[in-house]
Symmetry: C2
Subunit: 262 residues, 2 copies
Amino acid sequence: MTRAPNMPPPIEEAWPAICLVRPQMGENIGAAARAMLNFGLVSMRLVAPRDRWPNPKAEIVAVGADKVLGPARVEWRIEDALSDATLVVAATARPRGLEKPVWGARETALKLRSAIAAGEKPVVMFGPEAAGLETDEVARADAIMTLPVNPGFASLNLANAVSIFAYAYAEARQEKDLPPWFLDLQDPPATQAEFEALMAHLEGELERGRFYHPPDKAPVMKRNIRTALLRARFTDQEVKTLRGVIKALTIGRGGRKLGDPY
Amino acid sequence: MTRAPNMPPPIEEAWPAICLVRPQMGENIGAAARAMLNFGLVSMRLVAPRDRWPNPKAEIVAVGADKVLGPARVEWRIEDALSDATLVVAATARPRGLEKPVWGARETALKLRSAIAAGEKPVVMFGPEAAGLETDEVARADAIMTLPVNPGFASLNLANAVSIFAYAYAEARQEKDLPPWFLDLQDPPATQAEFEALMAHLEGELERGRFYHPPDKAPVMKRNIRTALLRARFTDQEVKTLRGVIKALTIGRGGRKLGDPY
């Protein structure tokens, strides 16, 4: 495509990435890719799309946005799709009593601009069309993004939700006075993968210590601890330190088997 | 549908209305209706939809938003769809050098909230999928709404564009401090139909006076006069006065034929 010399250059920003969790319809994936590129976002991640991938319907709808759809990262597990993220925002209409900050789209966009300037790698994740994100998925997020939807008709089309965030992000690009990012860390923030390894380490040791009682409460107990620790937004160095803490606390406790990973 | 007693009531606001001009695909009309209701807007107008109406594809996609799609007003001519509007905003990516205010979506939303509180009846119009609004259509608007799209990939899906405006409008609903509306008229503002009649009167008399010279410049000359007068945002009383002015200026000029409407 020929471009006039006085035309502003195209915008293609790798962060924030958009992660569609268990998306169902290829059309919606393609439409989300288009909406992303409309507002200069190019990193798409997909967690366990319902239909086979590559998806011809997504390609038809995304036409022109191949540079988003083509290199989209596809993972089976949400933790793999978020592994390199240092900051995760979950788009959900229903904050489920999790102790997390709740932001509007504009607020999210402004905070993410500041966060990126401070070295963060944010991912905004959207749930599947019908049901939205599950509580355990939302629990992985540092913050929740909600839209001021009509209580009488709240179920938003997936691509529309993505386009509203992408629009808000493009508006935030034009904002000269960004609020300072809430944590101006000296060290780089931990990635989700590092945080996940910390949680696996801790949860493994807690299981050995018979912490989860009664056992059917384990998922809720795990989620609450995750939510509390996630809020601290550890640096990678702090995660290493905390793993040392867990090791020190558990040394000599016994019960560890040969070949245990920690 | 049963509603919990502590649930906030549904939102269904008649203004601003959304007008889709020459929309092509039924799916997009249905998706726009859904996006409107998602954010509490219920008045839809369609100008010359490409396919037959009612449109089964629109109905499938709009499912749940029947209260928007069902009563949608369908007109052949744009002036009929805008006849009762007192304020028209054209969504277009390309302001064409028309002397009109240009607003972002958030700015548009805030201004329309104020305008409605001041008694205005605003319509936001969106062009067809491929080509957008034509210059003569944009010329009917009091202001232009643009979105900060990627210069490298600017063609926004119609329903996404509608949902972005509707979202921005819902955010503006939560805004406590609205800017005062720029014109706090004592008298009610003229509707587009009243303004159209004034323009027809004036243009008819100008033609009789051989004002449009050379004749092939007539469309541009008409558009420029329309744009200039539209900016004054006349009240209905002022429109009546101006029609009297035109009559007074043309009395005795001759050249009027028996049966002329003015």
